[in-house]
Amino acid sequence: MAHIKVEEGVPGIRSLVLFRPETGKHLYELAQVLLRDASPLTAAERELIATHVSARNHCIFCMSSHAAAARELFEEKREVVDCVIENKDTALLSDKMKALLTIAGKVQQSGKLVTDEDIAEARKHGAEDRDIHDTVLIAAAFSMFNRYVDGLASLTPTDPKEYEPMGKRLATLGYVLPQQQKTNGTH
């Protein structure tokens, strides 16, 4: 059960932003700009960074929902998502993405762990300032989202199938603030 009184049956961050839409709307806007607006990284690559950080933080809700979104966006290359979650080396991942995921993994532990060598390695494989900026901020933002979701013990569905429609929604509609249900409809 969640640590505070949120709407029953609503999973993860959705229950929290319904509880406090004043902060929720800025959190969703941040996710939309970071993960969907123009960037040298594709939406699929950015969802992969979010998945990687959430997996390292053991946040099952965030990991599963962003993995589902990443699988939708990677289409026939969707296998890459499970390789990243399981830390398996794969040819589906470019050297640039490998270097950026290393940086994201450091940020997940502490910003101070990112070294000049980590940055040089990413640049060697074509990463520019915006790639590095977005990687660091996505990793930092998921260090927040994961703590928000688990710190309030929000509802985490355990059936992987429940995340598939979330992934489809995130892949097609992006980050749209959930609205309070006036009737007893489904969420």
Binding site: N57, V107, S110, G111, H133, S143, R147, D150, L152
Partner: protein
């Protein structure tokens, strides 16, 4: 030197905020609601939570910038802020704020570290659901801000007086719509 090319001379988070205004907008609006808008937790207490988390994350810029602002609101000196950082349980703050800082410290280590007992204790001391929510989100948000500032290796003035001297202006300026070049 910062890991990416940032506008020169801007301390801490102001560099990356000037670099990418599109993400700056929701980041600052979030900070404004969490730290400054109407709330049963005072602005001083909320800045103190932000300072404490930034201290636990060893983020020099954030702990001094927000420590300075907390000191301004609480009308105390920096040694009081240092007492809270180093030994909150013996600091001169309310039992309720101590309980909220305990929850915040758990969030800093990882969301799953927050226990039902910690939350029950805070509620027993008068904390509302909204106050617990905001404490968790302030702590989580500073785990983001600290990583953003340090993950890009931004520049921070080392003299603590720099932060104390500008605290009043920063407090009045607020977080929404400020000019990072300022």
């Amino acid at each position: 030197m910062a890991h990416i090319n940032l506008p020169e001379g801007l301390p801490g988070i102001r560099g990356p905020m000037a670099f990418r205004p599109e993400t700056t907008k929701p980041l600052n609006e979030l900070a404004e609601v969490l730290l400054r808008s109407e709330n049963s937790l005072s602005r001083g207490d909320r800045e103190l939570i932000a300072t404490y988390i930034s201290y636990l994350n060893d983020c020099f810029f954030c702990q001094n910038a927000h420590g300075g602002i907390a000191q301004h609101y609480l009308e105390c000196d920096m040694s009081f802020i240092d007492d809270v950082k180093h030994d909150k349980d013996n600091a001169k703050i309310s039992p309720k704020l101590k309980a909220l800082l305990t929850i915040a410290a758990s969030v800093q280590r990882g969301g799953k570290h927050v226990t039902t007992e910690q939350v029950a204790k805070a509620k027993l001391l008068g904390a509302t659901d909204l106050e617990i929510h905001d404490t968790v989100l302030i702590a989580a948000a500073f785990c983001m801000f600290n990583r953003y500032v340090d993950g890009l290796n931004t520049w921070a003035p080392q003299d603590r007086m720099f932060y104390i001297n500008r605290a009043k202006d920063r407090a009045e300026e607020g977080y929404a719509n400020y000019d990072p070049h300022h």
